[in-house]
Amino acid sequence: MEYLIVSLVALFAILILGGLLLGPSKRRGTDTLLEPPAQGDRRQTQAPTRERRDLDSAGQTQTLDREAPPAEPDEFVIGERPRLRDRLGKARGMFGGYFGGIRSRDKIDNETWDDLEEALIRADVGVATTTALLDDLRSRVKSESIKTPAALLDALKTDLKKEMIQADRTLRLEPGVTNVWLFVGVNGVGKTTTIGKVGLRYGQQDKSIVMAAGDTFRAAAAEQLTIWSERAKADIVRGQENGDPGSVIFDAIARGVARKSDLVLADTAGRLHTKFNLMEELKKIRRIIDKSEAQLSEVLLVLDATTGQNGLAQAKQFSDAVDCTGVVLTKLDGTAKGGIALAIEKEFGLPVKLVGVGETAADLIDFDPDEFVDALFEQSSGQPSEQAGGQSDGQASNQARSN
């Protein structure tokens, strides 16, 4: 019975709060309680939501000026960029398997549709998009404008390419000003790593770069970025652990502007898009950048290619909060197909700009939608493997081009 009592009391408190928060909005149409205070560091005032130690000097940041350490000279020079196709070998294996089976059939039957559906769903394209694509194809098959499985596949490929939006996929880097690229996303998608790789890439194009270690929450995130900054020979501005990320980014921008740097790469802590306080913190970071002398040129949502349908919610919430300009799709070198990127492009008009296809800096490549779709359709069997002889990295069997 004690449990009951305890729960009831808890319930009581919840009901008061609940009624309080919902009631007014229903009755008066506006809910003052839900409105965030205009000023103030959310995370600082919300101390209990995140474990953090006392900070008496949160605003202080320390600046580490890296004077180009000579270590590891070769490993971090970006060589020739791999093509998406070369890297999607593993992913293609399975996808190609489904489509390959369809292509070799002589008629379109129920099994064909099931296989197509399965292939698309497995690629995380999503039920809605899959159904829409297939319904359209069904009616075209019915009206006999498509007759063979091979033609069906080609039509699907064309449709998929049409799904990808027409947009400028280059990263904006305006000359003569200090550009800021802000990286946001949920936990563990690879924001810090992406910044490291981007820094390395633009560093080698002789751009001067300042990295802002805005992830002050995850233990040792700043150390991780510092190691990347050494590799990229970039400046880095770090704050205190659990300090205010806004002030770190502010300081990094001040440094970038003072030194007339080309680019400030701003890291942020991973946050689930459902956490109100943390999303408010992100908005505040954006406001800080907007008010600065630097130019906010890109707000990049970093998305893990293994993400399922939740990617849509992520894209929506992050876009609502900080108005993203593009997507970086990471970890596309695994078995995941990243089909959710398709749905995100279509629904939110957010173009994928970069894809991560491997561990090294050279593996962060520009996104090419046609290549992305083509790569999904390439098959691992039934083709003469003209390139098999020249491959040593185990991808030979996946290299065959589609017909």
């Binding site: 009901l15 008061i16 009624g19 078995t335």
Partner: protein, 463 residues
């Protein structure tokens, strides 16, 4: 969490609720809806197909049942199948006769292994064990630093050295034995399941430490790929179970549903927040109830037990019954409630809580405002809110930095809920009532039978 899935199920069951009889076409339509709901929740397509055919089989089997309405029949079949799919019985952690008990964590990059390692260490420590963390992730820059920080926060030992993962593992085991650690948790680098070199490396680490438990850490947001990943890791490491991370978002958690179906290995722990304490054993039956919108009272009660001071709560409950519950009591309860974690998490576990309320973002900030209002009242006012007149309201609003209408809202809600609780709060009689939650002013109507589930939940626990 799992919101969308339970919403979809709600819609499906809502349609059935008023039907007297289900035709085969009805059943097929429902099954199609369930299939779509599962796929939208990222349940693996093979698992979803199997799920639907199993539910159908169950439905055929109980079709002649007269005691259950059609919607109850479907609900029961789906519920049973969900429990089955989520893992049936829970895996019990047992300890090696000759310590240390070794736990190996593996997974993709960014799955949350290092954080899970820290949380797991905290959990073992709370079980009275003396764990040691081993940093065998020498790949990701800063990973060992991160683990060291976590170890410091948890207050456990940590071992790592800049050699190679297998050597780290070997020396860690020796160190653990020397220093008398009875649990060793090995954090490994994130790796792709198709990276043969890295998979061989983790296999060697595993062969070195001979783990008693090997857990795959999986991101709750993972899509269709989850199953393939789990299979590959299972093949290499012979998994014992899964730790599900980032379950506090709105991820639909289909990955959790699918993994057992394919590898036969259950979800053992779930990470439900950023705090180190927000990590709990995973109970498939409870999760199935949560997905179906039936609440998860057991977890709530356990959390309440862990963080509520029973004496204070009992006193408050007694006052509640007598209708003498004051703002001071409320403040006290609020403080205790906040110990239980985010309010939204607690709401998710309550049965019959309206969706609007579940989705409302009740942040710490809003709680602080409510607290501020109460703290601006005099002792007299807190004891007897009825004396708070217009002038006093203005003073309270000014003192707490809110508008008078906010003060009014709190006073009104407090009065109404207090009245409502007085009628429900006759605790001994509650079991007999079973009428569910009375309508709360200001709140969307709660489905009847909402709190009716409550006593049965307790019955399960007590006997």
């Amino acid at each position: 969490m799992f919101d969308s899935l339970s919403d979809r199920f709600d819609a499906v069951f809502g349609k059935l609720r008023n039907r007297g009889r289900l035709t085969e076409a009805d059943v097929d339509e429902v099954l199609q809806e369930i299939r779509t709901a599962l796929l939208e929740a990222d349940v693996n397509i093979t698992v979803a197909r199997k799920f639907v055919s199993q539910v159908k089989e169950r439905l055929v089997g109980i079709e002649t049942s007269k005691s259950l309405s059609p919607s109850q029949q479907v609900l029961k079949a789906v519920h049973l199948e969900l429990i089955e799919m989520l893992g049936g019985e829970q895996l019990r952690i047992t300890y090696a006769q000759r310590p240390p008990t070794v736990v190996l964590l593996a997974g993709l990059q960014g799955a949350g292994k290092t954080t899970a390692a820290g949380k797991l260490a905290r959990w073992f420590k709370s079980q009275g064990r003396n764990p040691m963390l081993v940093g065998a992730d020498l790949q990701r820059p800063g990973a060992v630093d991160q683990l060291a920080t976590l170890a410091r926060q948890v207050g456990v030992a940590m071992f790592s050295e800049p050699t190679d993962p297998v050597t780290v593992a070997k020396n860690a085991m020796a160190t653990a034995r020397e220093t008398g650690r009875d649990v060793v948790i090995v954090d490994t680098a994130g790796r792709l399941s198709i990276d043969t070199e890295m998979m061989e490396q983790v296999r060697q680490v595993s062969a070195t430490v001979e783990p008693h438990f090997t857990f795959l850490v999986i991101d709750a947001m993972l899509g269709q790929d989850a199953v393939g990943v789990a299979e590959a890791f299972h093949e290499t490491l012979n998994l014992d179970g899964v730790i599900l991370s980032k379950l506090d978002g709105d991820a639909r958690g289909g990955a959790a549903l699918s993994v057992k179906g394919v590898t036969g290995k259950p979800v053992v722990f779930a990470s439900v927040g950023e705090k180190l304490s927000e990590f709990e054993p995973f109970y498939p039956d409870r999760m199935a109830q949560r997905i179906l919108g039936m609440g998860d009272m057991l977890t709530l009660i356990e959390r309440a037990e862990a963080s509520f001071d029973r004496d204070v709560a009992e006193k408050a409950a007694a006052r509640l019954q007598e209708g003498r519950f004051t703002f001071d009591d409320f403040l006290e309860q609020l403080a205790q409630l906040r110990n239980m974690g985010p309010i939204s998490g607690i709401l998710g576990m309550l049965p019959g809580v309206p969706k609007e309320l579940k989705n409302a973002d009740i942040g710490e900030d809003q709680l602080s405002r409510v607290e501020a209002i109460i703290r601006s009242m005099t002792k007299q006012e807190r004891n007897d809110p009825s004396i708070i007149n217009g002038q006093r309201r203005q003073r309270i609003a000014a003192g707490s930095g809110v508008t008078t209408s906010e003060v009014n809202g709190l006073l009104k809600q407090f009065k109404e809920v207090q009245k409502m609780m007085k009628s429900v709060g006759r605790i001994p009689g509650m079991k007999g009532k079973g009428k569910g939650m009375p309508n709360i002013p200001g709140l969307p109507q709660m489905p009847s039978g909402g709190l009716g589930d409550l006593p049965s939940g307790f019955g399960k626990r007590n006997g």
